[in-house]
């Protein structure tokens, strides 16, 4: 319940009408991969990724990598609570992926 509330607050902070950026995150083992693309298929040339925990605490800020892909190590404890991954490119182009404990377990072959 607390986790759901924290995620809801994080969502509320994002612009609503920015659907042209698409963010997807997945897990393989202990590595999180974030993929950022525009709906046109092009990838952003720059931008910022913010990784927050279930209590909405900022854990790290990363640059969008080559071909829109960014990788980082799964933070300790994230497997149980999930992560909120926000990506902001520019001028209101933003999106998020809510990496759930189920997503993480799937990426680790646990479900």
């Amino acid at each position: 319940m607390i986790r759901a509330l924290a995620f809801a607050l994080a969502l509320a902070a994002l612009p609503v009408a920015a659907h042209d950026l698409r963010v997807f995150a997945s897990v393989s083992g202990q590595t999180v991969t974030v993929e950022s693309t525009f709906s046109s298929g092009r990838v952003p040339t720059g931008g910022e990724i913010r990784v927050l925990d279930a209590q909405n605490v900022l854990l790290m800020t990363l640059d969008i990598g080559d071909e829109g892909k960014t990788q980082f190590a799964l933070p300790e404890g994230a497997a149980n609570t999930g992560l909120m991954i926000e990506v902001e490119v520019s001028e209101g182009h933003s999106d998020y992926w809510m990496l759930t404990p189920d997503d993480i377990a799937y990426g680790q072959g646990k479900n």
């Binding site: 698409r22 997807f24 997945s26 709906s39 298929g41 992926w97 809510m98 759930t100 997503d103 799937y106």
Partner: protein, 254 residues
């Protein structure tokens, strides 16, 4: 005697006025990340407007195509019942964003009343996580409706367009039957002619249809195979149906 004949005539009308449809109906066709990660799919064979079911034998093929890759899902099908007849169901996890095309090739169905075999190559398109990439995918089925309109994210009243293909080539003036999945039985047709509406494609095999209401609509393009099939030692016609199921959304006025 007169009453008997009338009943027989009515029965004949009832069987000739409506169309058979292979069906693949997902629990959701535009899955957002908040919706979860899996959908349920139900495969059946029916007269969808009238809610009359038929037995669907275990299909010859059931696949999902995503990002140009096709995966066999046949072994995942579980027995279920749709409209009181044998059908199949499965749950599928949408691992990545983009359009997932689910396709079924049923076993040929012998229809004695039409003195013909029927095979409906049936498919539906599901978008995952706000990504419509791959919405116009052509699977290369024996016969297929290739969408020209995105086969999801459509309002009621929108025009749906597709190209009818047989062996990979457009079929000029192909006949296309259109029927509403009258799931709750609330729709009423003023004439049997309106249970299944029939339209034709143009010279390039392109057809257009504007749906009057939200819900699932089935489009079935019908052709006859060049090769007949054998039934009791006789050559019989083999109807090849290219079926696509498309969901239209209610207008979102406040």
């Amino acid at each position: 005697m007169k009453a008997l004949m009338t009943a027989a005539a009515l029965a004949a009308l009832a069987t000739t006025a409506t169309a058979h449809y292979g069906m693949i109906i997902p629990s959701d066709n535009m899955v957002s990340q908040e919706d979860g990660r899996s959908i349920d799919l139900t495969l059946s064979f029916s007269h969808p407007f009238e809610g009359i079911g038929m037995v669907l034998e275990r299909p010859e093929a059931f696949t999902v195509t995503h990002g140009g890759k096709t995966t066999d899902l046949l072994d995942r099908l579980q027995d279920t019942q749709v409209m009181d007849h044998a059908a199949f169901a499965t749950e599928y996890r949408l691992v990545r964003p983009g359009t997932h095309v689910f396709a079924m090739t049923p076993k040929p169905y012998w229809e004695p009343e039409e003195d013909a075999f029927i095979t409906h190559f049936t498919k539906t398109y599901v978008s995952a996580y706000g990504d419509d990439d791959g919405w116009d995918a052509e699977l290369g089925l024996k016969t297929e409706i290739v969408p020209l309109s995105k086969p999801f994210a459509l309002w009621e009243g929108n025009l749906f367009q597709g190209i009818v293909k047989l062996d990979g080539a457009p079929v000029p003036y192909a006949e296309v039957e259109v029927e509403y999945y009258n799931e709750d039985g609330s729709a009423v047709a003023p004439s049997d002619l309106m249970i299944t509406q029939t339209i034709k494609a143009d010279a390039d095999g392109v057809f257009s249809y504007a749906v009057p209401t939200a819900g699932w609509w089935g489009f079935a393009a019908l052709n006859t195979a060049a090769e007949p099939m054998q039934h009791d030692g006789e050559d019989k016609a083999h109807e090849l149906g290219a079926v696509i199921w498309v969901h239209f959304e209610p207008w979102g006025a406040k």
